[in-house]
């Protein structure tokens, strides 16, 4: 038991990194070169938030920062800004993770939606502060909506496919793991 809990975070880290590279790869495929009216969800942010509320040790901040910064660079975004706000959001949720362990899913979803909204707004404000023309409002709004609605799907996928489940109290707490 002790060995398993010690080993498993590494598996989750590898899984998260692998999924990140996969998502970047799929989004880079030149399938749609016409401008789109809506934005696809930010899968890596969604997945990180879903995991951090279930297994806080599965998504270390450095890993998320690396993946999102890589995406920043590859997707022609201003590098660093989006990654910084995503990491701040991640840490806010991490500090709430313990209190939300027993709550309902609706409450969790609502909290995550608020955090996602704040991250997008903060990113927009940051761009404006540095006199960079932000994306059209409709695109950011659609990014917010699609990410918010992708969240339950990500949670379900993490639960059934990847086995990222809410730990029962004391399952992986080192205090009780003895």
């Amino acid at each position: 038991m002790a060995e398993q809990t010690a080993n498993r975070p590494f598996a989750f880290w590898a899984l998260y990194a692998g999924l990140g590279v996969f998502v970047i790869f799929v989004q880079l495929l030149p399938l749609e070169t016409e401008p789109r009216r809506w934005a696809a969800p930010d899968y890596m942010m969604c997945l990180a938030y879903a995991w951090v509320l279930r297994r806080p040790d599965a998504v270390p901040a450095l890993l998320v920062a690396t993946i999102v910064l890589l995406a920043d660079f590859l997707f022609q975004r201003p590098p660093g800004l989006w990654a910084a706000f995503v990491v701040i959001g991640l840490e806010v949720l991490r500090s709430r993770a313990i209190f939300m362990r027993g709550g309902t899913f609706l409450l969790e979803w609502f909290t995550v939606i608020v955090v996602i909204g704040l991250v997008i707004v903060a990113h927009r404000l940051g761009l404006m502060l540095f006199l960079i023309e932000p994306a059209p409002l409709a695109l950011d709004a659609s990014l917010f909506l699609s990410t918010a609605f992708a969240y339950p799907v990500m949670v379900a996928a993490s639960h059934y496919l990847f086995g990222v489940r809410k730990a029962a109290p004391g399952e992986y707490d080192p205090v009780e793991a003895r």
């Binding site: 070169t33 016409e34 590098p79």
Partner: protein
Amino acid sequence: MARDTSRRDDYVRPIRRLLIGLLVVVLFGVFLLWRIDSPRVERLRANLVDQIVPNFEWAMAPVTATTNIVADFRSYRKIYEQNQELRRELRQMQAWKEAALQLEQKNAKLLDLNKVRLDPKLTFVTGVVLADSGSPFRQSVLLNIGARDGIQDGWATTDGLGLVGRISGVGDRTARVILLTDSNSRLPVTIQPSGQRALLAGDNSPTPLVEFLEDPDLVRPGDRVVSSGDGGVFPAGLLIGQVAQGPDRRLRVRLSADYERLEFLRVLRSRSVEVIDEPGHLIGPLPARPTAEITPPVEPADG
């Protein structure tokens, strides 16, 4: 044991918080650096893309091809109607071809009579589209040719028919093309029959806007739009598209290039344009050139 972990928590927490803070500061630092010294960071980005994306090529090509085949397969249902339509169009085309041939001969004759010297033919390098920008906020594609093939920033890119965009960001093996639809794209254009100059401004929609038009009354929907060559951005006369009027009564350009299927792109090698930068002198006899006869160099006598 329990006491042990709680004591470890006591100092792990602040350190953890400090490290996270440091991480966020580093990320903001990258952003600031990009804002301050954009060219350097963009070069870093180009190199990063150059290192990473070509490694995906083996997987990207088949996946893209498969998806496109599926999309093609869907269109088989309409194949009969398409066939009829194509036949009709082909008949029209033959008439046009005949007209074009006659005009070409006439043009060649007239040019010969006038001794007009045209631009030397543009040569081009063809590249395959490796990847798109990956997000709906930027409109660009990545080509599999780069500095290795002599590609330079600012060169025009077409899909064989119409202008697609310009090279912006060259790695060793890859080059990025900012499409005309990107919200950062601005291009001086001429609108054909009236010869009006304007600026084509991308706005993240499939049809870029026509801006700074001198006299909008002279421009009708359906007019041809070509690059004007102003500012030395592009060679003049590259076909871009046709003027169309949007539902908001603003003039837009329907692009000739097929943006739905960007697969192979031609990068036009622009030769550097000679710039005339000094005013002409007074017209008069040319000053005599100092020649060797007038001022023979004084040679020291050999001792």
